[in-house]
Symmetry: C2
């Protein structure tokens, strides 16, 4: 079987071209187009400073139908007032005219610098050029993926193929995100510049699709943090072409939700792995906490501590930073009940340090994936958060990058 | 007038000696002793993982009377179980025996690595040695100040002299703190390893002193963040020898509160300025927010964003990072009502970017002090938070430092 890609589910085409927004010759305008208007759902940043395309996108996806996504990188079209909203609407109109659909069936996205007006001449020419190059090959999927990237160092994609009543279906997705990553996505609102676009060929009602997308995002995109900075532009959009099996019974819903969840988790993991300056993914598993909200806030507190992230970068089993981060993140945390393991090695149990070989553990922390496992011992709630280490490279990218 | 120092208020002596906890020959055990048991108050970290000396200190200061403070650096005595609490109690007993007071009148403090048992032989010998060297000269104050330092690159002290009814009084203080700084101190609980010790010669009831200390800390220590990592050991302690004027009337309380506030703010500013890797202090003024809690969370949100801190390090007027941080920090934030100024230059007003010279503003951001002024335009609440920039040096200190 050939490798699955964003356009493997039938009914979609895509393109990505260089319109001149990026200073390098890389693609910066992309189109993802459905052959016909299809069932769709999207969730967006909860940031009160929502970019123009997010404001327009929320409005357009409310109908549960989309025909196309138009994206540009290199400029976020955020904090750009009425002019910004008009520009986002113009992107939709121009896309609609080029691909033959209603402007209200187009979801716009932008990512890049905040506070600059879009160069609309370049964007318009770019949309026309991309529309002329639409196709469904793996190369078309790659070009679209490239067009949404900013500081990403590699492409991010995932796909899953499943069967319902002997009928095969596919869920595929691509995303971008490296810095300004701390998404708090919600069905009506969310946060971090991460963009993700998911295609599938199932037939599913928009309301059901929206609910399943929200659930899948909770344990994936909303569980990733690079710098906990919730962007103005975060968007996750799913379109279902309806060519495959109908998702309606409880069993079929579970099968589809499983595939959607797998794709979202893979994309989220790839964002953590490509976090700005990251050399490793750090997975924080918090178990047996008093309440679900406590489990999540403890996991996020640990994941967002610059001290923990620096220790992980230095392969330093300095577990005190982890326990202290847990201690300020939830009032229910009780060190006398807790057990902490790093890469499987118990280092702290019930208020006391455990003996371990720092040198041996340090060697095992020098890995692509590090597992921090905190058993709170005070309940049965759990949460997992994915993050990365904090390195000099993050500083270089974000202090040396000039507006 | 000679320069004021920690021992300028009459009735106190101090010492700082090298007991062998630090690998360098710098002082690591300090004593601050009152000539007689005196009115005292302290506030501590709100971290649920409270270090042993914090647990013991809360208990001892509850009486409102203290005779001495004993501090060690190089080891936090945190996450050390019953043995740790017994060690903290032993430090109090040994100090009491050496200076002639009750063990319950001694407040213990520790700062350094978490999860290691105190080397009690060294500590005991250090306390005896320090007690033999007590004195009230400026050099004694300096030795105590040195004994509490960890990654601090410079001493931090402040003093204020005022007059009440023609009677002069002094408030003086020293503190340490550079990393793991995000204090959330409270009268019964608080957070970050910052330690601060304040002396004064006024005569004041312990309950009143505690209330004034909590108020003063709110706008000073609790308004500083370096990495938002609330420590297990944060402690701010004030002792009043009672030799000076009596603080009882509303007017006198206001005068004393003013002096105490000035000393606390100065110490807090010095912590931000000496934040690990810091090259500048960034003051975030949030004004006209809907509610006080909103003003504070917006100011903290901006101050804790790694993206904002990196932009400040790079002298980059990338104000979109500031507005977006405000947008995810409080639900009441409305970009359409807000105005943002950087070093006095308006860059964003009511949802729209303003024209400015990026090159000229970048030059003015290359300063020791940077002012971020955000007028929310939605109410009358305000908050100020002090932070520093984020540099490669922070990574070096915290990733290369090994346990």
């Amino acid at each position: 079987m050939a490798e699955l890609h964003l356009l493997s589910p039938g009914g979609f085409s895509a393109a990505g071209i260089h319109a001149g927004l990026k200073s390098t010759p890389k693609p910066d305008v992309g189109l993802l187009v459905a052959d016909a208007a299809c069932s769709a759902a999207a969730i967006f940043t909860t940031n009160r400073v929502a970019a123009a395309p997010v404001i327009v996108g929320r409005d357009h996806v409310a109908s549960g139908r989309l025909s196309a996504v138009v994206v540009n990188s290199g400029n976020a079209n955020a904090c750009t007032g009425n002019r910004g909203r008009n520009d986002a609407l113009a992107m939709c109109r121009q896309t609609a005219a080029a691909v033959g659909c209603d402007a209200e069936e187009v979801l716009p996205s932008s990512t890049g610098i905040i506070g600059h007006l879009l160069p609309m001449k370049k964007i318009s020419a770019g949309i026309a050029s991309a529309a002329a190059k639409l196709g469904s090959s793996p190369d078309h999927a790659l070009a679209f993926t490239d067009a949404i990237m900013t500081t990403d160092t590699r492409r991010k994609s995932a796909a899953a193929a499943c069967t319902i009543a002997r009928c095969k279906f596919i869920v595929a997705g691509v995303c971008k995100g490296s810095g300004m990553i701390g998404p708090r996505l919600a069905a009506t609102t969310s946060h971090a510049t991460m963009l993700a676009y998911i295609t599938t060929d199932v037939s599913i009602a928009p309301a059901l699709l929206r609910g399943l997308l929200a659930d899948a995002s909770e344990a994936s995109f909303n569980a990733v943090t690079v710098d906990d900075h919730c962007s103005t532009n975060d968007t996750v959009c799913v379109m279902a072409s309806g060519r495959g099996p109908v998702i309606r019974t409880r069993k079929h819903i579970a099968t589809f939700a499983g595939a959607l969840g797998e794709v979202c988790r893979s994309l989220a993991w790839q964002i953590a792995a490509d976090g700005e300056g990251a050399t490793k993914v750090v997975q924080i598993d918090v178990r047996n906490a008093a309440r679900p909200a406590d489990a999540k806030s403890i996991a996020r507190g640990i994941a967002n501590s610059p001290l923990v992230k620096c220790a992980m970068h230095g392969n330093d089993p300095n577990w005190g930073r982890i326990i202290s981060a847990a201690g300020y993140s939830a009032s229910s945390f009780d060190p006398e009940q807790a057990t902490l393991r790093l890469q499987g090695t118990p280092v702290f149990r019930r208020g006391r340090p455990l003996p371990f070989s720092a040198a041996a553990l340090s060697k095992r922390l020098a890995a692509d994936r590090v597992l921090v496992d905190l058993d709170c011992g005070t309940g049965s709630a759990s949460a997992t958060v994915y993050t990365c280490d904090l390195s000099r490279e993050y500083i270089r990218i974000n202090a040396d990058y000039h507006t």
